[in-house]
């Protein structure tokens, strides 16, 4: 491998800043891409990767900073404009048209034509020729949707490159591919690299990063953590850059509690679903916090959704109080007095248009059934009690919840479940995207709930945090529960090394 600094700088980003109300998504980020380089862009959810890509491709306007492509300062108006400037993007969810033929997808808007009529034969010939350069011999007359995601992705890459891309951004392209498909994708990337195209590769699979990247840039909480050639970056250091902890640090002071004993409240045996999460065993006792740790896409959220009945298990058995139960819908789970605050608050948690009061009583009301309306006065009492208890900052309970800040929305969602007096709570990234003050409050709240005898399953990318309150931590990798840490093993160090090992 030749040293990257000898190659020309293709894309130069300096001091890129982008804020949204209440959160600085990108804070003076620098990023340099050389021609003929595969550059891994890594970071957890909320690190700023997607904001960076969206600013680059003109989906968002930047607040400050410069973007230079081949030395020219550029500002893309929209993705189509970015593409014409030479920046092409391929997403995990292929943004092409599944109902059109492969050839049409490649040539829409620039179909060869004569007398106003598209020369279909010519278009197909050219499409086949283009794809053969990628080792793809398929019938280009077939609709795109009839091919696997892997093939669709190659087609999307071929399209972007053919439309004069100098920079190719791949946003988690491998998330739904199998090993062999990943391998052939990498061959293609290496070919493009040899042609001098600069590739930004966003992924959360460390093995793939080491298999194909020349250089790695890590973002965390909207800031640049560092950028290093792959050869100078051992795996454990990469993980610590992503998760935000220096290995030299002393182990965090844990609330050393005696190990929780007794019968588990909930238990799952060989519980799993094909293509979602490998079968796992898991048990949580009353008064116990079990943490789920792992990188993005490792199966954390999938585990939570399976347990709460959002997805249906196709193997194994669930038990509550030692008795087998069936959890096919969230409603079933709620009846068993489970609660779940999802990671994606906006689309799966809050009902933005409705008031804080209505959002708080929603789960309790759903459990009581439609006939037994909670009287208005009682609703207000519940809402105000939790607003006070959790310190939800709002002038009153009748404000639409969509107008609150992220931290206050999260507290309201917690209140929604606490109002149902749950026995088992699943919290998916409860502290994601909320300010420092609210962050600490939510952690205190988790500890308090645990003391009250609730069983808790908490997902978090913040290793310090998860190590501080968890009695046990399950580490996930590649959609598998790989190891369960307990007692003295529960430390950010051990979690990190377990995640990084392979």
């Amino acid at each position: 491998m030749q040293p990257t600094r000898e190659r020309p700088e293709l894309l130069e980003i300096r001091g890129l800043t982008k804020g949204f109300p209440g959160v600085l998504a990108l804070d003076h980020v620098d990023f340099t891409l050389h021609a003929g380089e595969i550059h891994g862009l890594l970071g957890e959810n909320g690190a700023g990767k997607s904001t960076l890509i969206k600013v680059l491709t003109g989906v968002f306007r930047r607040d400050a900073g410069t973007v230079r492509l081949d030395g020219q300062e550029i500002t893309a108006r929209d993705p189509a404009d970015a593409l014409s400037l030479g920046i092409g993007t391929v997403y995990q969810e292929v943004n092409l048209l599944p109902n059109l033929s492969v050839a049409e997808n490649l040539f829409i808007g620039r179909q060869p034509h004569r007398f106003g009529l598209v020369r279909t034969g010519e278009m197909r010939r050219r499409a086949a020729e283009l794809l053969s350069g990628y080792g793809l011999a398929i019938d280009v007359a077939n609709p795109l949707g009839s091919f696997s995601v892997a093939v669709q992705q190659i087609i999307a890459i071929a399209r972007a490159v053919d439309l004069s891309a100098k920079v190719l951004i791949l946003d988690e392209p491998t998330a739904s591919l199998d090993a062999q498909e990943v391998e052939s994708l990498f061959e293609i990337l290496k070919g493009l690299k040899a042609r001098g195209i600069g590739i930004v590769f966003v992924t959360h699979f460390l093995d793939q990063v080491y298999a194909v990247c020349d250089r790695i840039t890590v973002l965390r909480n909207g800031r640049l953590v560092g950028s290093k050639p792959i050869a100078e970056l051992p795996r454990i250091e990469l993980v610590s850059m992503m998760l935000g902890r220096e290995l030299a640090d002393e182990a965090l002071h844990r609330n050393q509690r005696p190990a929780v004993t007794g019968e588990p409240l909930v238990a799952f045996k060989n519980y799993g679903r094909r293509r979602l999460i490998e079968p796992f065993d898991l048990a949580v006792r009353p008064g116990e916090v079990v943490g789920l740790a792992g990188l993005l896409g490792s199966g954390r959220t999938e585990t939570a959704k399976l347990i709460f009945g959002v997805e249906r298990a196709d193997s194994g058995q669930a038990f509550v109080d030692g008795k087998p139960v069936r959890i096919a819908t969230p409603r079933d789970a709620a009846r068993l007095r489970f609660g779940f605050t999802p990671e994606d608050r906006k689309t799966e948690g809050i009902v933005a248009e409705l008031s804080i009061r209505e959002n708080i009583v929603l789960a309790l009301q759903a459990q009581r059934g439609w006939l037994h309306q909670i009287p208005r006065g009682k609703q207000e009492e519940i809402a105000n009690r939790f607003i006070k208890l959790l310190d939800i900052r709002t002038p009153d309970a009748e404000k639409p919840i969509g107008l609150l800040s992220g931290g206050n929305q999260q507290k309201a969602l917690l209140a929604r479940w606490l109002a149902t007096e749950p026995r088992f709570l699943i919290l998916d990234e409860p502290t994601r995207g909320i300010d420092v003050g609210a962050h600490a409050e939510i952690i205190r709240l988790i500890e308090r709930l645990c003391e009250d005898g609730l069983a808790l399953l908490v997902i978090s990318s913040e290793l310090e945090e998860i190590a501080s309150y968890s009695d046990r931590v399950v580490v996930l990798r590649d959609r598998r529960h790989v190891r369960e840490l307990s007692g003295a093993e529960v430390s950010a160090d051990t979690i990190m090394t377990t995640i990084a090992s392979h």
Binding site: R335, K346, I350, V351, L362, Q365, G402
Partner: protein, 334 residues
């Protein structure tokens, strides 16, 4: 009614003011072209006058609008209400003509209505077919079923009891108006004094979050379509009783569109969420008052189609930028 009037976001105007103002303006214009518009007289224990006429003729659409409001609040649409009106009217008329007692005929019509709603609800909630597409099926086939029942004839019947539903009176008001009021009251009680209203608004605003909170989204959706079809069946009974006959071809023809229009004029968003029953009824009255106004001013009644078109466009254009702005505010703050 406090729960109906509450505003979903801080606004300068109280909710419902535009609708009430529009109704009053239409009344005023009607009064300008016809000075006796507000005149009422009492005859045989029943009030008569143009204003009563507006209420009486507006009643079927107002009843349809009640059910349609709930359906639209769940982010759905029901195109089949006109066809359901025809089926229910035909059922009741056919049974009455065969000599069945009135309660049997009415119960059968209501039952047929509920069955239609169940069908629509299952297609939408269980088979997850788009509401617009799902209810189109019954819209097309429904009139065929109605004609099957009437065997292609206009079934006339002699039953003073049945006819009274359309032309009778109660407490000085036409029976149709009383039925509409009772339906408004029942619907209001059912949605605001049970948790259904909350569930409906939650489903319309964010079906996924609602399901995650444990709301039985499928059951609520089916119930809403059933209620909508029940409302349609009742409206169908009124129309049938009014002409003392079931006309499978024309009963309720295009009334689904009037009902949707009434709901939209009443400020319930086609994108689901917050709804107002009272304002939908006012919307229905605005439409009917315009119809009556056109009649009173001597234009052919068909002109009201143009007026309706203009109203649809005006409401859409007025609401569209406002809605977008409100949504933008929500998104920015979120």
């Amino acid at each position: 009614m406090s729960s109906v009037i509450q505003a979903s976001a801080p606004r300068t105007l109280p909710k419902g003011l535009p609708q009430v103002a529009a109704l009053l303006i239409v009344f005023l214009v009607n009064w300008l072209v016809f000075r006796d518009f507000f005149a009422l007289r009492l005859q045989d224990g029943r009030l008569f006058g143009s204003l009563i006429d507006v209420l009486n003729r507006g009643a079927p659409v107002a009843i349809l609008a009640l059910g349609m409001t709930l359906v639209i609040a769940t982010r759905g649409i029901d195109l089949s209400v006109g066809a359901v009106m025809a089926i229910a009217g035909a059922t009741a008329a056919a049974l009455t003509a065969e000599g069945y007692p009135l309660p049997v005929a009415l119960a059968a019509a209501a039952g047929v209505g509920l069955a239609c709603g169940l069908w629509n609800g299952i297609l939408v909630a269980v088979l997850e077919i788009q509401p617009f597409v799902a209810t189109l099926i019954l819209m097309v086939a429904g009139r065929g079923f109605a004609q099957l029942i009437t065997e292609g004839q206009i079934i006339t019947f002699v039953s003073d009891g049945f006819a009274a539903i359309g032309s009778g009176s109660f407490l000085m008001l036409p029976m149709a108006v009383m039925i509409a009021l009772v339906m408004l009251l029942i619907t209001h009680l059912v949605v605001r004094y049970t948790a259904l209203g909350l569930f409906i608004e939650a489903i319309g605003a964010n079906v996924r979050s609602s399901a995650y909170a444990g709301v039985g989204t499928k059951a609520v959706t089916i119930a809403v379509y059933m209620w909508c079809s029940l409302c349609a069946a009742i409206a169908g009974l009124i129309v049938t009783a009014d002409i003392r006959g079931a006309d499978a071809n024309n009963a309720g023809l295009w009334l689904e569109l009037d009902a949707i229009l009434a709901v939209v004029v009443g400020g319930t968003s086609l994108f689901g969420g917050r709804f107002s029953l009272v304002l939908a009824v006012i919307g229905a009255l605005i439409i009917q008052a315009m119809n009556t106004g056109i009649l009173l001013s001597g234009y052919p009644p068909e002109y009201n189609l143009i007026v309706k078109a203009i109203v649809v466009l005006a409401v859409l254009l007025a609401q569209s930028p406002v809605l977008t702005a409100v949504r933008a505010v929500l998104r920015r703050k979120a």
